[in-house]
């Protein structure tokens, strides 16, 4: 069980093909797999579909793959920070499927758990519900019926995620809000490649404090991360 690779390019070797479906972790620029995204750019893989909460900014995150026109479709909840994204979307070069944020997270989690569909109240009565299966369940007060819509689990070809630490078997620990979409994104791919700040010896992580068990992780790389801040907000020292 050798999961550790020397760099992003070797970790992705044999996993990339044109037209593939990739689930990526991260929220904004926080906890994104920046090294793996850069390696996909270098590999030149085209017509990619990404399930990712956001699309990065123009020169960082998934944004770098938009500059090179490697992305065919985005499944996201919010894409407001990316001018090149908007230009390609408005000109029809890029497909976009908006998912409510919680629906996107649950679609990833479900896919990873072998659940092809689930019902949610989110989006009932909005454009999100158009064309989707509606069903009533007695979840209201005193068993009153409430309407739900069916959403489908995501089954991706590849998961790319960022964690703080991994042991040599792929057990992962995330740090603060950089956890975000990374665990569900990791779960829903056939193969999962993880980039971490530090690979530690097996046995050095507390088994009671593993955030994602190594069963979900196939390949690991360690690297230097830029970890860019999107909105620097501070308060005065008093």
């Amino acid at each position: 069980m050798q999961k550790i690779y020397p760099d992003a390019a070797s970790a992705l070797d044999g996993l990339l093909h044109d037209g593939m479906f990739i689930a990526a972790g991260g929220f904004g620029l926080c906890g994104i797999p920046e090294l793996l995204l850069a390696a996909i750019k270098d590999a030149g893989t085209k017509d990619l579909t990404f399930a990712s909460n956001n699309a990065g900014v123009d020169d960082f995150g998934i944004g770098i793959l938009l500059q090179t026109r490697q992305v065919k479709k985005m499944i996201s909840s919010y894409v407001g920070e990316n001018a090149e994204f908007m230009r390609q979307y408005l000109s029809g070069e890029l497909e976009l499927e908006f998912n409510p944020q919680g629906t996107l997270a649950e679609r990833m989690r479900s896919g990873g758990c072998g659940i092809p569909g689930f019902y949610t109240k989110t989006g009932v009565g909005t454009v999100i519900a158009d064309g989707k299966d509606h069903k009533e369940f007695p979840t209201g007060e005193n068993g009153a019926m409430e309407t739900y819509i069916m959403e489908e689990g995501i089954f991706a070809d590849l998961s790319i995620v960022k964690a703080w630490k991994a042991d040599e078997t792929g057990n992962l620990v995330f740090r603060k809000t950089a956890r975000n979409f990374n665990p569900p994104a990791a779960m829903c791919g056939k193969t999962c490649v993880v980039e971490v700040e530090e690979i530690v010896p097996t046995g050095s992580l507390d088994p009671d404090n593993i955030h994602l068990p190594g069963i979900y992780v196939h390949r690991i790389i360690q690297g230097e991360h830029e970890k860019r801040i999107e909105q620097r907000t501070v308060r005065e020292r008093t």
């Binding site: 909840s77 919010y78 409510p100 944020q101 989006g123 603060k176 909105q231 020292r237």
Partner: protein
């Protein structure tokens, strides 16, 4: 006379009770945190955190610690982190007592529109649809009229909806209204605003 942004936030803070877990939206709702006083309120940030603290001191910013508006923040001694699926599990599961958020339009049936204007740049709904569908109580804080002077409290929303029949209470610069059977009910008026002023600025049916 009417309430300014801070007074609206201060009024919205009165909606919060000791022990509540609350999600605050971007804009005026964010200011509500300044007025909770001694009440024991835990703020949720839907990117995966309960117990959100204030902005960091300069030099203490941590790229791994942001809120749902992507701003750098801090943790508290009660803070817990979790992934996005768990975060929206607690939202969808009704564990969050209240959400306070802004809106473009609200109508007399409690329908809410705050995520897209057709023909304009669409940035996405983020977590707004999940929040309004899932939390215990939805409180909207917004100006009573738009920049053209038209009422934002309508008989029926004209913009694409974020949620249908989801709003419980509306706090505007002119007063407080509840969504009830048949329309909106005036709960109180802002300082120096009469019920007649409020009715005149409202397109929705007032019962």
């Amino acid at each position: 006379m009417a309430w300014d942004r801070n007074q609206m936030a201060e009024r919205a803070a009165q909606e919060l009770e000791d022990g509540m877990y609350v999600n605050l939206g971007i804009g005026i709702p964010t200011l509500v945190a300044n007025y909770v006083g001694d009440k024991d309120i835990t703020l949720q940030s839907e990117n995966g955190m309960l117990g959100m603290g204030p902005f960091p001191y300069e030099g203490d910013e941590d790229p791994d610690l942001i809120n749902a508006g992507k701003q750098t923040i801090t943790e508290l001694n009660r803070t817990a982190y979790f992934d996005s699926a768990t975060s929206f599990g607690m939202i969808r599961g009704g564990k969050i007592a209240a959400a306070i958020l802004g809106a473009m339009e609200v109508d007399e049936k409690g329908d809410l529109a705050n995520w897209m204007i057709p023909g304009k740049l669409v940035k996405g709904m983020g977590g707004a649809m999940d929040l309004v569908a899932g939390v215990g109580r939805v409180i909207v804080v917004m100006d009573h009229t738009n920049k053209h002077g038209d009422s934002k409290l309508l008989r029926e929303c004209t913009l694409p909806l974020t949620g249908k029949g989801v709003v419980d209470r509306i706090i505007t610069n002119l007063g407080v209204l509840d969504v009830v059977e048949g329309g909106l009910k005036i709960v109180e008026t802002a300082d120096g605003v009469t019920e007649d002023d409020l009715r005149a600025a409202t397109q929705a049916t007032i019962v």
